[in-house]
């Protein structure tokens, strides 16, 4: 059956940050130079062709955007200035919006006003919530957060939010997996998935594919942000009240939000310092990079790229300030900063994780894992054939 062409798809992609891919004349230099493009999954040229022809279904089934870590070699070597690297980036934005069944992501990506409004609404809601709902008699002599917002209560909120977010992200990831597997969905035995599950973990933790790119600094920066974020995420979600308090599991000594100051060698404090440093280093590097626009991957910034970096950095900065006001034992500034901290962190989590840039933490390793599964399955089939 013949493919139908939609000439206006490229126009739709502009909202997702597509810039110059119209100029592509399909010489294939980008694919040739890409350190990650492989025989069965070639990119970026092929994807540009799909986009130019308006083949949305083909794009939806393509794992390739997730196989790209955007080192920028393709854009640097494009003889026509078609910026294939940025094209792949816009493909990831587009796919994120397509995976999201709620339609929220598409709005978030395609409308700046919606993006700002969504962040503002969540922030104000959290601000009001924390201002009006707190413990009856906060400690105004010492900076004791638990006296205002007891950790177990916060953790309950945390859990509720976490569950909703996880459901959203997982459902979107499920759709991602289903699209990417295409005809093979449901055909490959579970054993093959299990056999390759390790890939998922490895790619998630190490992003080893990124290390194949020419510019290894990008990999390092990416790894810093990811590990810093993941660490602090674990501390907040898992150990805010010392474990899962709601079901009675709670260890006093493992509480993340506690009013005593832990000794310097306490693992939570060390991990906190690491995360703070890693995130601040990574986000500052990226923000400066995006301002200077010297590195190819930083040349074009979509509104959501800035939102992501700014929210992440603000969350970390307010976290640092809280740490100091607690050390200085200033109660009021600590409480105010805590509210601000939450007003930044919560929108970031609620909006970015299932609907925007953060979602790639799930899509990318899953796509890589599924490619491995496919490859393994094909090998099996060949052996039997």
């Amino acid at each position: 059956m013949s493919v139908k062409v939609d000439p206006n798809f490229m126009k739709d992609l502009k909202a997702f940050g597509l810039t110059d891919a119209n100029k592509c004349m399909h010489c294939g230099n980008c694919t040739a130079i890409c350190p990650l493009s492989e025989k069965d999954t070639t990119f970026p040229r092929k994807l540009i062709k799909y986009a130019q022809m308006g083949m949305k279904d083909k794009i939806l089934q393509s794992p390739e955007p997730w196989l790209c870590y955007y080192c920028g070699d393709c854009s640097d070597n494009c003889p026509r200035g078609a910026d294939p690297g940025e094209f792949m980036m816009s493909m990831r934005r587009y796919l994120t919006s397509r995976y999201d069944w709620t339609g929220f992501s598409k709005k978030f990506y395609t409308s700046h006003i919606f993006e700002y409004a969504a962040v503002a609404v969540v922030a104000i809601f959290i601000g009001l919530l924390l201002t009006f709902f707190h413990a009856a008699n906060p400690n105004m002599e010492h900076a004791h957060i638990n006296s205002v917002w007891p950790a177990p209560a916060v953790e309950i909120g945390d859990m509720i939010m976490g569950t909703i977010l996880a459901l959203l992200l997982l459902s979107n990831t499920y759709r991602c997996a289903k699209f990417v597997m295409g005809d093979l969905w449901g055909k490959i035995p579970l054993g093959v998935y299990i056999r390759n599950a390790w890939e998922l973990v490895v790619h998630f933790l190490t992003q080893k594919q990124f290390s194949k790119c020419t510019d290894q600094m990008q990999w390092f920066v990416h790894l810093m942000i990811m590990t810093g974020y993941a660490t602090v995420f674990l501390l907040v979600v898992g150990f805010l009240a010392g474990g899962i308090h709601v079901i009675g599991l709670s260890w006093e000594n493992l509480q993340f939000q506690r009013d005593v100051i832990y000794p310097i060698w306490h693992p939570w404090r060390l991990l906190g310092y690491y995360s703070t440093f890693a995130i601040m280093y990574g986000t500052t590097y990226a923000i400066i990079g995006r301002l200077k626009k010297e590195k190819t991957p930083y040349k074009n910034s979509h509104g959501t790229d800035w939102m992501f970096l700014i929210l992440l950095q603000l969350t970390t900065l307010t976290g640092i300030f809280i740490h100091f006001t607690r050390l200085l034992d200033w109660p009021m500034p600590t409480y105010v900063l805590y509210v601000i901290h939450m007003m930044v962190a919560i929108p970031m989590l609620v909006l970015e994780v299932p609907f925007a840039k953060w979602a790639h933490l799930a899509f990318r390793p899953v796509a890589l894992f599924l490619m491995k599964v496919k490859e393994d399955y094909k090998k099996d089939m060949d052996t039997f054939a």
């Binding site: 013949s2 493919v3 139908k4 062409v5 000439p7 206006n8 490229m10 126009k11 119209n22 100029k23 592509c24 004349m25 399909h26 062709k49 799909y50 130019q52 022809m53 026509r80």
Partner: protein
């Protein structure tokens, strides 16, 4: 003119170190009794030249042989007015390519000096040809399209009176149908300013314009063309000096296209030319119902680059389709515009247009073999090579087929076939005839046919790399799309280039000199008519149609059309054609002056007849690179290998020369001969030489033809050595010492 000869030997550039100059001088003084033979360490210096000039003034010297470097260098230094000069190439072709102070090297130099002195003894000072008729400096431009208009204007601006003849009732040609154009560097589609150009031409006092007129006939030659213009109300006659032929092109006939392209099956399948015509009014609309275009596909290479139709690329269809596509997008930015192409060919700055079209969101589909569907709505199916899948573009309002350009000289009967039918009874020399079609453009009253001969695909071009604007008819310069497919920018430049050539031709001819490629040559062929046998070889073989014929088949040379290649001289079996400084006897004597050593000396001699345009400079370059080659060779440069007369081979063989090596240019479709057919003719003649050799009871391997180009200089030494070896194997010529 009484000759007073002198020989000057330069000892610079290593000549003096490699040769015994005193011994060499004795050839001049003792053997040829030349009164003055001087040597100088640096003959091209001011002092050296002064030495020669002093002898000319004091001793009345008027005939000199300069034994120094190659005639291809220092030619302006050794240019003495009113003096016969020949150059003996001791540097590039003796001392730089042979062993120093070797007996064979010395013998070679001595032979070359003998040949040089023999040549100056035979040469005479040329006097340029002055036609009897009144000489005209006016220029005729045939075709009033973009190229013709520009040509007329350029010529008028240069101060020449121009005659512009257009067959339609209005000037402008195809461009009248073009409303908007894309110019480089491309910013946006701009209005075609043709009316301004037409106004400039019609208001120019130096341009006489005939519209609704064609050429009744053109006769004569450069400087003395007689042009008859057929008007609606009679004939106008003009004497002109040169002609620019800018008769243009026609779109390839879409009726001939493959049925799968859908032409004729739906009114909405049109050609690019029809698109231009239909959109002159402004709106781009569907032909069947005048509805605004929402979806349109352009199919490139409709019948182009296709051996069944036009085998060539017309070079402008891609640019034109891009422009048309951009216009559709300008009219309706939401229109679906598709360009289906084999390869996008946007030469030079047209690439900007391609990029602009891409940025507007025009969809490009690469497919070698698209198919237009007309049943149930217009659609195009194409195998997209860059996608690897079959693509369907439906709901189309229009399909535009980009057909190519056909030169107007491609229409009309080919006279070659008529001639072949006629020439049954004549002695056949297998000379391939030129393709000349009765295309009713010039109607030349030439013995060789009424129009310009075609080179490839009916384009009346000459060698397109070396000689743009040249045709094979002197003084007639094709320009614009009649010459090759081109766009507006190139055609405008082409017009200026062709007029420039026409002006050169007029100015040189007025001085009695030859035009390109022997520009400035004052000689012209003289026919000793008393001995003519009316064999027609000269008229048939002249590559430039410079010889007419009377009813008794006597040749009527038209010297202003002549390019002085000497092909007629080589063709004439009676040897009645000669130039003042180049003739069968002069070169024959030069060959005979080569000293042939006795058989027991084991010094064979090889005569190399080398084309002076490619082979001779290639030999110079071999010397320049200090490449050594066989010392038995003696090189005689020829104006063109086509001027080689078979008698020279017979003469040299009967004198005892062991082998003859002919070095000519590549011929065939991509010929490199400056005179188009020279080397081909000489090879054909050579095929007849075996009779001569048989008569002398000699081996035919003693004579060989080889095609070389100037870049083959590095292969030449090996070629010569190998030929020398084969001659050694055959053994000495038994005629030695007779």
């Amino acid at each position: 003119m009484e000759k007073k000869s002198a020989v000057y030997i330069c000892t610079g550039c290593g000549i003096g170190d490699a040769l015994d100059i005193d011994q060499l001088s004795q050839i001049a003084t003792d053997e040829f009794s030349v009164p003055i033979c001087k040597k100088h360490a640096n003959l091209c210096s001011k002092e050296g030249v002064e030495l020669i000039k002093k002898d000319m003034a004091d001793e009345g010297i008027n005939t000199i042989a300069i034994a120094a470097c190659s005639p291809r260098v220092m030619y302006d230094t050794f240019d003495f007015e009113g003096c016969i000069v020949d150059r003996v190439n001791l540097r590039e072709q003796v001392v730089w390519c042979q062993k120093e102070n070797d007996e064979d090297t010395q013998l070679m130099a001595e032979d070359y000096l003998r040949m040089g002195i023999t040549k100056i003894n035979g040469m005479e000072l040329p006097e340029g040809y002055k036609p009897e008729e009144e000489f005209s400096r006016d220029i005729l431009v045939v075709g009033g399209g973009l190229t013709g208009l520009n040509a007329a204007l350029e010529g008028a601006k240069a101060g020449y009176s121009m005659v512009l003849v257009e067959k339609e009732n209005e000037l402008g040609g195809f461009q009248r149908n073009v409303k908007e154009i894309a110019v480089s560097p491309f910013k946006e589609v701009t209005a075609n300013d043709l009316p301004a150009l037409i106004r400039e031409v019609t208001e120019n006092e130096k341009i006489t314009v005939y519209t609704g007129s064609t050429m009744e006939s053109v006769s004569g030659g450069p400087g003395i063309f007689k042009a008859k213009v057929k008007k609606s109300d009679g004939i106008a006659e003009h004497k002109v000096g040169a002609v620019v032929l800018a008769a243009g092109w026609k779109p390839y006939n879409p009726e001939k296209l493959d049925a799968k392209l859908g032409y004729g099956q739906s009114p909405d399948v049109i050609t690019n030319a029809m698109f231009e015509e239909s959109s002159v009014e402004g709106k781009i609309a569907r032909p069947s119902d005048n509805k605004d275009v929402e979806n349109i596909a352009f199919l490139q290479c409709a019948g182009s680059r296709d051996p069944k139709h036009l085998p060539y690329c017309s070079s402008v269809c891609c640019t034109a389709s891009l422009k048309q596509a951009i216009r559709v997008k300008q009219q309706n930015p939401d229109a679906g515009v598709y360009i289906i192409y084999k390869e996008i060919r946007t030469p030079g700055q047209s690439e900007d247009l391609y990029r602009a079209a891409q940025e507007l969101g025009i969809v490009f589909i690469r497919c070698q073999d698209p198919e237009v569907k007309v049943d149930g709505g217009l659609a195009v199916e194409a195998d997209d090579e860059l996608l690897g899948e079959r693509v369907l573009i439906d709901n189309l309002d229009m399909v535009v087929l980009a057909t190519g350009m056909v030169t107007v000289s491609a229409f009309g009967r080919d006279i070659t076939k008529e001639q072949q039918a006629e020439s049954d009874d004549e002695e056949d020399l297998d000379v391939p005839l030129d393709v000349i079609r009765r295309s009713n453009l010039l109607n030349l009253e030439y013995r060789q046919g009424p129009e310009l001969p075609a080179l490839n695909n009916d384009f009346p071009d000459s060698h397109f790399i070396c000689f743009p604007y040249e045709s094979r008819r002197t003084g007639i310069y094709p320009a614009g799309t009649i010459r090759r497919p081109m766009g507006i920018g190139t055609a405008t430049e082409d017009a200026a280039g062709a007029v420039m050539k026409a002006i050169q031709c007029i100015e040189l001819t007025s001085k009695g000199a030859a035009v390109h490629p022997r520009a400035g040559d004052m000689t012209f062929p003289h026919f000793e008519m008393k001995r003519c046998t009316q064999c027609k070889r000269c008229t048939v073989e002249c590559p430039f149609g410079a010889i007419n014929e009377d009813e008794k088949a006597n040749p009527l040379p038209q010297p202003t059309r002549c390019r002085r290649c000497g092909v007629c001289m080589g063709a004439c079996p009676e040897r009645i054609i000669s130039f003042k400084n180049y003739s069968v006897p002069i070169i024959g004597d030069v060959i005979k002056s080569i000293n042939i050593p006795e058989e027991d000396e084991e010094k064979p001699r090889i005569l190399v007849l080398a084309c002076e345009n490619d082979a001779y400079p290639a030999l110079d370059m071999a010397g320049l690179h200090r490449m050594k080659y066989n010392a038995w060779v003696r090189v005689v440069p020829l104006r063109c290998l086509g001027s080689m007369n078979l008698v020279w081979i017979a003469d040299s063989m009967s004198k005892g020369v062991d082998g003859v090596f002919l070095l000519g240019c590549k011929h065939g479709d991509d010929y490199q001969c400056h005179f188009i057919k020279g080397s081909e003719l000489s090879e054909i003649r050579l095929s007849k030489v075996s009779e001569t050799l048989d008569r002398l009871a000699l081996e035919s391997e003693r004579v060989r033809f080889e095609a070389v180009s100037i870049v083959d200089y590095d292969k030449l030494p090996a070629m010569l050595d190998e030929f020398a070896e084969s001659i050694e194997e055959i053994g000495p010529n038994p005629f030695k010492g007779w």
